[in-house]
């Protein structure tokens, strides 16, 4: 069937900010969809609140709304744009939920309104409602985990009688898995059932047969409107059922299913998508298989593209989202061509001839108080994918891609952590899934513990364990060899098992470069194979490569000038989609300028790892060894000319490599300048020379030095390690004890040590902390002629002390006088000049009274580059990448790439999105260590309105009625009066703690409800109020330092998170919030597209 001509415009709902469980994969899928639908001639309207996405670039849609993704706002956009159809299946759960809410209101999906394409409301409801889904599966003869519902212990016992132990109890209507538990014995069951019944507000529990320990699989299915179905990829989880699939190590294709079993699963997946009624597009269906009997059950299905479909797309070369978009407008699979072969149609099932491994990356170290134990709720913030010809190679490449200081499956310095732990203890440890379990399993295998015992403890399939054992055996064999006498065959075998040069260096007490030299002398260098969807059956046109060590290299020769762009690796807190945005823009801009672009990255969620983005894609770890290998392969392919390398757009990951790559290849700012900005002494001297004030401070490698600095500058001080991103381990220190603790932590060999602990090369920076200062960020570009373009000056809402990544900021600055902005711009220009920057630079300032202090400068892309670009309409990353390769700003202006910023009087706010709802045990107060996973943007005509929108987009509803709960730290109380008065003027009620209430009363502000201390244990306290639903908004600011984990403040903040009551934890945010409420009250929210703001 040809494409539909009865629809002309399509609204795509994006997924909003990056949160745990919903990351860049939806930028990847949304960007693909926007692209193909526009190519097909449809008018594309997009709504997404996330400014860091590629899809929200004004080039990708006809109308781009960076607005909050709420039913009200989307309804407004629909009213304004009147699209013919809505495509809800590309924006993750956010897209689906928003579409369902709109459907329920009769705004889409009913006659006379925009049609829902991809999946209709009935299909979404069938897949999303657990009970409905179960019944649908039973109806078509598919097995599901047996379950029953109970309202009291007697009913519960009856259910368990029927289904047998072990069982999992899930209370109804609870948040965050509270009261959920597994029971194996009758005694345990009675206890858990009682707990569960108590936890459920309606006294109802679902009792489900526990299948923890079963093997877990996923199939990615596509269906077109002619009912053709294909499987794109099968995925097998290394971690058994019981660990969320997003937190599991997974492998594609399935490894331990016989064809008979696989085909049974395939049939079931088709039956499932047909019964659920997904008419066109991609879905994923999850299965569990009993390893003893082969019994298969359906766990769930997602009627939309997902994290798994992004992984499957990268794993096979089959672009699921792109094809899904085409299917949604009426094409059938056989009418769409396979991009990679160009000769065959998309109506096939990819066959792959390699092994793909996905490994999650967690951020527990940034969330003190979190258990670090993996379970049924996803907690990882990012993931890596690796490709090898075998599982061993793929696994070890994946582990070194994580950038957690591991070089592979052990055989590295970090394995010392396990050395002291006895076998028995280790065996107990692996029964509990954690991020380190894979290494513990490896260690047990190395020590000779049997596969059966290990399998029994951790439930990882024996096939995977045997593969890991082979790594350990190879290691033992290599340990007995002399590296200088290793035969090429032995070298090759080691490399084929995924051993990095670094691991071999550790094994042989040598160093990486020596090992590399010996290996190369033996003639063993990587060969690059191609991901081609068809296992080489047809010739592939698309150069999407991965390395292995075999006979034949498939990189094709080329003589065009080439640029290698180093990506940013796995998403983590502090380094995420913003940097992928920059890398992708560089690739787009440089391709347009005639360069051949080569991307190296290992993050399957991203646009950068779409094979369409660059001329060549290497799906490889971002380590020195792997990057040098690609540079060598590219040099070889061009007859000896080495490519230029861009290291400054992918965040800290590539920047850290700048020192170990050939210096002459690095495009843009020289590594020397990068070092100048990072080296505290040189940097201070530079600022001194430029007469730019800095907060007093110095560097220290031990406590003694640290104390000497403090003697000079006084407390409080900001203590931070050098060369990290996201304020990792940054602390504000108020006294000597705290300083000693901070220095000890930094020196320790914990996770931070792995990322670059304390050493002479990486000392700790200690600066006087400027209390009450206003923080300002600047992004600028300097070209080789010395011209500097100020991209944007951002004023932070929260004061210095809250990490810039966690604080809201505004363009243009809202409270800074023009002369201060001028001073900031002029400082920025002199710093850029002094560092001889060629490309981007980000400078942070603190403004205290009439003094502008420079905090730090980073001659690289910052997290705010995409936000600035969306706020001003200037494509900073594109301009910067051209400048890095020698273009001048004047030339780019002439070319038309660089246009003046649009200033139509609008205000843009960036707000951070925090993961605390996933970690109820963590204090949600903000601090100098960044914890946000993503960001949103609000644009409107005033600060208040833009702030209101930004908060709404971030999930914080600023109320215009109801009662606000106030409890303020002493230092915040004066400002609190302003807040309270505004609330009163707006007609909102106020509840407060005794101290705050007394203070407010003394200034004539009445409080409606006063609550006592939680620790008093009598009367109504704050938590009762919040839990009781009486509070619309919480303003709670932490009491300076200390207070302890059990402080009232922390409990109040946690209660707000648990009960989903919006809250702010700084007084500056409270002031901004009341301004937002005041401006918003009594008026309708208005929406406007970026194209209108920038008059494109």
């Amino acid at each position: 069937m040809p494409k539909r001509t009865d629809i002309h415009s399509i609204l795509i709902i994006g997924s909003g900010p990056i949160v745990i469980g919903q990351a860049c994969e939806f930028d990847y899928s949304g960007t693909q969809a926007c692209r193909v639908l526009r190519e097909e001639g449809y008018r594309v309207i997009l709504v997404n609140s996330n400014p860091a996405t590629i899809m929200t670039d004004p080039d990708f849609a006809d109308a781009t709304y960076i607005e909050p993704i709420t039913p009200d706002v989307v309804a407004k956009i629909i009213e304004r744009e009147r699209p013919d159809a809505v495509l809800p299946t590309l924006g993750g759960q956010t897209g689906l939920n928003t579409a369902m809410a709109l459907f329920e209101r009769g705004i889409i999906g009913v006659p006379g309104t925009p049609e829902m394409i991809g999946a209709n409301a009935e299909a979404i409801a069938t897949a999303e409602d657990r009970d409905k889904f179960k019944r649908a599966m039973v109806e078509i003869g598919l097995a599901v985990p047996v379950s029953g519902i109970a309202h009291d212990l007697a009913e519960a016992m009856a259910v368990v009688e029927r289904i047998g132990m072990p069982i999992i109890i899930r209370p109804a209507y609870i948040l965050g898995g509270r009261g959920t538990g597994i029971a194996r014995t009758a005694a345990e069951f009675k206890l858990r059932a009682a707990e569960g019944l108590a936890a459920s507000p309606i006294g109802e529990i679902l009792i489900e047969k526990s299948i923890a320990g079963w093997k877990e699989y996923e199939l990615e299915v596509m269906r077109d409107c002619a009912d053709n179905c294909v499987i794109i990829c099968s995925i097998e989880n290394v971690d058994a059922m019981g660990v969320h699939t997003g937190d599991s190590i997974t492998v594609a294709p399935a490894q331990t299913l016989s064809d008979v079993e696989y085909q049974e699963m395939r049939d079931a997946a088709f039956a499932c998508i047909r019964r659920v009624g997904v008419e066109t597009g991609g879905s994923n269906v999850q299965f569990a298989v009993n390893p003893e009997t082969g019994e298969q059950v359906v766990i769930e299905m997602n009627p939309r593209v997902s994290r798994s479909s992004a992984l499957a797309s990268k794993a096979t070369g089959f672009p699921i989202a792109k094809i899904a978009a085409k299917l949604a407008v009426g094409y059938t699979l056989d009418e769409i061509s396979n991009d990679i072969t160009k000769a065959t149609p998309a109506s096939f099932e990819p066959s792959i001839d390699y092994v793909v491994t996905k490994i999650p990356r967690w951020a527990f170290e940034k969330l003190p108080g979190s258990s670090g134990i993996l379970g049924t709720q996803m907690q990882s913030v990012g993931e890596v994918m690796s490709i090898g010809r075998t599982f061993t190679e793929s696994l070890q490449k994946g582990l070194r891609s994580l950038e957690h200081g591991r070089l592979g499956l052990g055989c590295d310095p970090a394995e010392a952590e396990l050395a002291e732990i006895g076998d028995e203890t280790l065996l107990k440890m692996i029964a509990i899934p954690t991020p380190d379990r894979i290494f513990q399993v490896g260690e047990l295998l190395r020590r000779g513990t049997g596969i059966e015992a290990i399998h029994e403890a951790c439930r990882i399939d024996a096939w995977f364990l045997d593969q890991m054992l082979q790594i350990m055996e190879e290691r033992a064999a290599l340990a007995d060899e002399k590296p200088t006498e290793l035969s090429p065959r032995q070298w090759r075998r080691a490399k084929q098992m995924g051993f990095s040069d670094g691991q071999l260096a550790h094994l042989w007490h040598s160093d990486e470069l020596t090992v590399r030299a010996l290996r190369e002398a033996a003639g063993v260098i990587p060969t690059y194979k191609t991901v081609d969807t068809c296992a080489a059956e047809f010739a592939a046109e698309t150069p999407y490569h991965y390395s292995t060590y075999e006979d034949e290299n498939e990189v094709r020769p080329s003589d065009r000038p080439r640029v290698v762009i180093l990506g940013s690796g796995p998403n983590r807190i502090g380094q995420g989609i913003e940097f992928d945005y920059c890398c992708v823009h560089a690739s787009f801009a440089l391709r347009e300028a005639g360069y051949e672009t080569v991307m190296i990255n290992c993050n399957p969620e991203t646009v950068s790892t779409d094979y369409d983005t660059s001329d060549r894609l290497y799906f490889e770890p971002l380590t020195r060894e792997d990057v040098l290998n690609v540079i060598a392969a590219e040099t070889l392919a061009s007859g000896g000319t080495a490519p230029k390398v861009i290291v400054s757009l992918g965040g800290q990951t590539p920047l850290k490599l700048s020192g170990v790559l050939p210096q002459e290849l690095i495009a843009g700012t020289s590594p020397h300048s990068i070092d100048l900005a990072e080296d505290r002494e040189k940097w201070s001297a530079l600022c001194h020379r430029l007469r730019i004030p800095q907060p007093p401070g110095d560097t220290a490698v031990d406590l003694e030095q640290a104390l000497r600095i403090v003697d000079r500058v006084g407390f409080p001080v900001l203590v931070r390690p050098s060369y990290v991103l996201g304020g990792r381990a940054m602390q504000i220190v108020h006294d000597g004890d705290h300083l000693a603790r901070a220095m000890r932590e930094l020196a320790g060999f914990g996770s931070l040590g792995r990322e670059g602990g304390l050493s002479a090369e990486r000392p700790v920076l200690i600066d006087r902390f400027l209390e009450d200062a206003t923080e300002v960020d600047v992004d600028a570009i300097r070209d080789h002629t010395g011209e500097v373009l100020i991209g944007g000056v951002m004023e932070h809402v929260e004061e210095a002390g809250v990490h810039s990544g966690d604080s809201a900021c505004a363009i243009p600055p809202q409270t800074l006088p023009p002369w201060v902005v001028e001073v900031i711009e002029s400082y920025t220009k002199s710093i850029a000049q002094a560092l001889d920057v060629r490309g981007l630079i980000n400078v942070q300032y603190a403004v205290l009274g009439t003094t502008v202090f420079v905090i730090e400068a980073n001659p690289r892309a910052s997290r705010t580059v995409p936000f600035v670009a969306k706020a001003t309409g200037v494509p900073l990353a594109k301009v910067a990448s051209r400048v890095m390769l020698g273009a001048t700003l004047a030339e780019l202006r002439h070319e038309g790439l660089l246009k003046p910023p649009s200033s139509n009087g609008h205000v843009s706010i960036k707000e951070a999105v925090l993961p605390f709802n996933r970690f109820p045990e963590v204090d949600p107060a903000l601090g100098p260590e960044m914890r946000s996973t993503g960001e949103v943007m609000g644009i409107d005509s005033t600060f208040g309105l833009a702030f209101y929108k930004a908060e709404l987009a971030a999930g914080t509803v600023l109320p215009t009625e109801g009662t606000v709960f106030l409890s303020l730290a002493d230092g915040d109380k004066p400002a609190g009066i302003v807040v309270a008065r505004r609330l009163r003027q707006l007609g909102l009620g106020i509840a407060a703690t005794t101290g705050t209430a007394d203070y407010l009363a003394s200034f004539g502000v009445n409080v409606d409800a006063v609550v006592g201390k939680i620790s008093d244990g009598h009367g109504i306290n704050a938590i009762n109020l919040i839990a009781g639903g009486d509070i619309a908004f919480v303003i709670n600011t932490p009491q300076g330092q200390g207070g302890g984990a059990r402080s009232d403040g922390e409990q109040i903040r946690k209660a707000a998170i648990t009960h989903r009551v919006s809250s702010v934890t700084t007084v500056e945010a409270a002031l901004a919030a009341v301004q937002g409420m005041a401006e918003q009250v009594g008026r309708a929210l208005s929406v406007r597209s970026l194209q209108e703001y920038h008059r494109i």
Partner: protein
């Protein structure tokens, strides 16, 4: 103990590897080297009689992961001359497994070579077509000689090697699908057990040798005749073609793979050798009457030229990758056939409706 081995192709390409399975006679196993892109189903492929005379390369690197079992044999033993893999599983894991693949290969005297850059090999075969080759522990010169001496499968009658010696009736639990039980005569040109199992769902299956005459078939008074898959060049099966021509119009006929080619030749059509054959479980085929797409299991080197059958058949199935013929219905005569494997062993189950069509055809009679 690693048994170092090498693979040599007729074009002189050499691959280093390691020997698995049985020790080949004289250290050399030779045959026509082909590849298969299935990611699961190695046991079914290895025991498919259509691979007689051939050495099968698996493009998926890990082979043997889930072991082997009695139920997944497609015939009584492997007929292929050898197996080429990247990584032979040392340990298998699956509740259905009874033996490792390595042990199974040893049991039947089949040799395998592991550690091969199978992607390089596949790319060679893709570009030059199936090629003679030899592998083993013998020295390179011996392997080269063996590869050169290998006749390939063109112009060779391999069916004689794989067909049953005498007729037999398939014993299975009967699934009563209609009021009358049908009687099916199935020609064994190298028949797969999954085919027999599917036919058994339709009626009593009498499997007969490839050399069975039309008179012998008719004497069994069947409701339908089934033409199985099989190895080699259809042009070498002249007698069977003659038999089929005699049966056409007298009894409903259904053919698969070699059976499809033989039916075509019986109608006067031509077959030709594909550059590198179709061997995999992911080929899209369109069923022309409905436009529906089936993902199919394929294993053939020869192909029917539909132009040579103009006016005699309706082309019912088309391969969407290379647009070669995948199926036909004979005009005016109750006979149809497909090139691919609707019985799927291994492979997708998308095309099982063809067996129902055969049942309908038999019920309609001549």
């Amino acid at each position: 103990m690693i048994r170092e081995a090498a693979l040599v192709l007729a074009d002189g390409s050499v691959f280093e590897g390691e020997l698995f399975g049985a020790e080949p006679a004289g250290g050399v196993a030779s045959g026509e080297v082909v590849f298969n892109t299935v990611m699961s189903g190695y046991q079914e492929v290895i025991t498919d009689p259509s691979y007689a005379g051939q050495i099968v390369t698996f493009t998926y690197p890990h082979i043997g992961n889930y072991g082997t079992n009695q139920a997944d044999f497609e015939s009584e033993r492997p007929f292929c001359r050898g197996v080429i893999v990247r990584e032979m599983a040392r340990r298998h894991s699956n509740h259905r497994a009874e033996q490792s693949l390595d042990a199974t290969l040893r049991r039947f005297g089949v040799s395998a070579i592991g550690g091969i850059d199978t992607r390089r090999l596949t790319r060679i075969l893709r570009d030059t077509g199936a090629m003679a080759g030899a592998f083993g522990t013998a020295d390179e010169a011996s392997l080269r000689q063996a590869a050169a001496a290998e006749p390939g499968t063109d112009g060779i009658d391999l069916v004689a090697d794989v067909t049953c010696e005498r007729p037999y009736t398939h014993n299975t639990t009967r699934i009563d699908t209609g009021s009358t039980m049908r009687r099916i005569v199935a020609f064994d040109f190298g028949i797969k057990r999954t085919m027999v199992r599917h036919l058994a769902g339709l009626g009593t299956v009498e499997v007969v040798p490839a050399t069975t005459t039309s008179a012998e078939v008719l004497a069994r008074e069947p409701d339908g005749v089934f033409l199985s898959n099989g190895p080699g060049d259809p042009a070498m099966c002249g007698d069977a073609v003659q038999t089929i021509a005699e049966l056409l119009g007298q009894i409903p006929i259904f053919g698969i793979c070699l059976g499809h080619q033989l039916l075509s030749r019986a109608l006067g059509g031509n077959t030709f050798k594909l550059p590198f054959g179709h061997h995999g479980g992911n080929h899209p085929v369109r069923y022309e009457p409905s436009g529906h797409i089936e993902i199919t299991s394929q294993n053939h080197n020869f192909c029917v030229d539909p132009a040579s059958l103009e006016g005699k058949v309706e082309v019912t199935h088309l391969n969407l990758n290379d647009h070669t013929n995948e199926g036909m219905r004979v005009l005016g005569v109750p006979a149809f056939s497909v090139q691919y494997h609707p019985e799927a062993g291994p492979g997708p189950h998308d095309s099982r409706y063809l067996f129902d069509m055969f049942a309908e055809l038999m019920d309609a009679g001549v």
